[in-house]
């Protein structure tokens, strides 16, 4: 396992280097002068020169990249032009909210998806199975942000059961109950598409596993059906399920941007969109960097989890 871990960590190096180049290049994609874009056409010549020097834009590209990477490695992501504060503090502050949202959505989609998938696989072509097939088609076709708005209108505005937006109530809130109440709608919205994907894959894998000879043997031995399905079936079907849950974790991190915007959730997504509209490039770079890094780490964790679940992978 240690050798596998070392090899997997080594593989991270080129990916991280590539990710850093892409994020660095974002600033240089713009066909015009980034300083002009950030400051607008009204800025004075001195302001432009000052910002150009501050961002190091007067240096050759590779020098700029080296300098930027050096700063990033020391945890210095620059200063936000719009908020006039260090980018790292701002992004990390907001990242907690994004983690709470995506973590809850991932938990929700894994639990509901696996449960639904197992139930569909044990009773193929039942009403539940058919409903789950229709739901998965709908889930893949529905814009997340629209589902969010519809849920908000029904449960927050019409029925008044849940708060419509934000993470805590403006007055008198701040405790766990308040957070949970605010979390329900965005987490359900974000999880909706993933539930259906995880459920379909769990169903397919479980159907294949339940058709194996050892399952027949277990049944013949008189093992209780519940144990056959869960201990003999689900346990062996877990590897592809873990894969898809890992992929969904990344999808949720990205999808959170839209959900956060719908529900005014104070996460990295809303910060990034505000940063783009305010032309605050260092802030946008910081947001993308933190989310991309956590995505890479999630993928690493999923790979390590496979190796732990299936020893064959370690020795490949």
């Amino acid at each position: 396992m240690r050798r596998y871990l070392a090899r997997r960590l080594l593989l991270l190096v080129p990916v991280l280097a590539g990710v850093s180049v892409v994020i660095f290049m974002v600033l240089h994609l713009s066909p015009g002068d980034p300083v002009e874009i950030m400051l607008g056409s009204q800025a004075t010549q001195e302001d432009r020169a000052r910002l150009r020097a501050e961002l190091g834009l007067d240096q050759p590209l590779h020098v700029q990249y080296g300098r930027w990477l050096g700063h990033v490695a020391r945890g210095d992501l620059g200063r936000s032009l719009w908020m006039k504060r260090p980018v790292l503090d701002e992004v990390l502050g907001r990242f907690k909210a994004t983690l709470v949202l995506t973590g809850t959505a991932l938990l929700l989609s894994s639990l509901a998806g696996v449960a639904l998938g197992v139930a569909s696989a044990t009773r193929p072509n039942s009403v539940l199975d058919r409903l789950s097939a229709v739901a998965s088609l709908f889930g893949a076709s529905m814009p997340t942000f629209w589902l969010g708005i519809v849920l908000m209108v029904i449960f927050a505005l019409w029925l008044g059961w849940l708060p419509a937006s934000g993470m805590y109530a403006a007055y008198g809130g701040g405790d766990l109950r308040d957070l949970l109440a605010h979390l329900v709608l965005p987490a359900v919205t974000l999880a909706a598409a993933s539930v259906t994907i995880i459920a379909r894959l769990t169903r397919a894998t479980m159907l294949e596993t339940l058709g194996q000879d050892y399952i027949r043997t277990a049944r013949a031995k008189g093992v209780v059906e519940r144990a056959v399905v869960l201990r003999h079936g689900l346990k062996n079907a877990l590897i592809p399920i873990v894969t898809v849950v890992g992929v969904q974790a990344g999808y949720l991190l990205g999808g959170a941007v839209l959900t956060e915007t719908v529900f005014a959730w104070p996460g990295v997504g809303t910060l990034m969109v505000q940063g783009i509209l305010a032309r605050d490039f260092p802030l946008v770079q910081g947001c993308v960097l933190v989310v991309a890094l956590s995505f890479v780490l999630v993928n690493l964790a999923v790979d390590l989890l496979y190796a732990w679940l299936d020893p064959r992978i370690r020795y490949e």
């Binding site: 529905m142 915007t261 990034m272």
Partner: protein, 300 residues
């Protein structure tokens, strides 16, 4: 020489057989899958409406009329009501279909062209070309899909064209991976070896022997991808990074209508339903195409 004749004859027979089989499969699927036929008809209707929008008796989609703002559906003169600026929603939905459908098809096509080209080269030529292609896709896939698109739009500046460029860039690695996998397995097959032994150059082998085998998986991937691209473009427009006002586009209609959702839910419900309906139809059609073209699914 004898080998050449025999090889050519067999290839022709296979092609004819494949064509006949395809027509038969399509007919069988159409009979068995009424939903897919309905989806195809719906898509055809939407595409026709979008195409002929300039000649339809519709109101100007951008004409502001504050007296008529937020009218409910079935108001005389406004079959689907009006938005917050009094603009006719039916006209905006039909004109918005032009933007949304075009964006979906064009971005998926661009992603497919780049991805298929890179995938062919990455699969056919081992060595540095393969390495470059694979590392490039690895790096792009190390980002959450929509996040990278947003980051690219941040660099290029908001706007429909830039949003489409961004979505095409983040979309091509999937095609590159898919095609490379198929090409890798084809490269070792006997018919490629035979073609090479007969003196065919790389261009001929790629064009005549490898490309035809890529059609089915790429068509299936493309048909399912157009819907995903429509959702992605609508998402960027919703964030204010795609289509800019006053141009009608389903995503931006949702974004601006959001503030008036309590008073007039239809302003948000209608564009959302339009996106949902089109993407649902595309997914149904894509699933049906996969049933026809993917032999592994048929065998199951």
């Amino acid at each position: 020489m004898i080998v050449r004749v025999a090889d050519g004859g067999r290839a022709d027979a296979t092609e004819l057989g494949a064509e006949g089989r395809l027509t038969r499969s399509l007919a069988r699927v159409a009979r068995g899958n009424r939903l897919a036929v309905l989806a195809a008809l719906g898509l055809l209707a939407a595409a026709t409406l979008a195409l002929v929008a300039p000649w339809l008796p519709l109101l100007d989609p951008d004409a502001v009329d504050t007296v008529e703002r937020l009218r409910q559906p079935l108001t005389p003169g406004h079959a689907l009501g009006t938005d917050e600026f009094g603009r006719d929603l039916l006209a905006r939905l039909v004109w918005g279909a032009r933007v949304s459908l075009l964006a979906g098809v064009v971005t998926a096509a661009a992603a497919m062209l780049i991805g298929v080209t890179l995938g062919i080269f990455g699969g056919f030529y081992t060595g540095w070309i393969e390495n470059v292609v694979m590392r490039l896709t690895d790096i792009l896939m190390a980002f959450p899909y929509i996040l990278l698109a947003i980051a690219i739009v941040a660099g290029l500046g908001p706007g429909l064209r830039n949003a489409m460029i961004a979505i095409a860039i983040v979309g091509f690695p999937i095609y590159a991976r898919l095609v490379r996998g198929v090409v890798l397995s084809l490269r070792e097959r006997e018919f490629v070896e035979a073609a090479r032994a007969l003196g065919s150059d790389d261009a001929r082998i790629l064009g005549r022997h490898i490309l035809p085998h890529l059609l089915s998986p790429v068509i299936v991937a493309f048909s399912l991808d157009v819907g995903a691209k429509i959702l992605a473009t609508a998402g960027l427009s919703f964030l204010g990074l795609g289509t800019q006002p006053p141009t009608a586009d389903w995503g931006s209609m949702l974004a601006t209508g959001r503030q008036f959702v309590i008073l007039s839910p239809h302003v948000v419900l209608l564009p959302g339903l339009a996106i949902f309906g089109i993407v649902l139809a595309l997914n149904l059609l894509g699933d049906a195409l996969r049933d026809v073209l993917d032999p592994r699914i048929q065998a199951r």
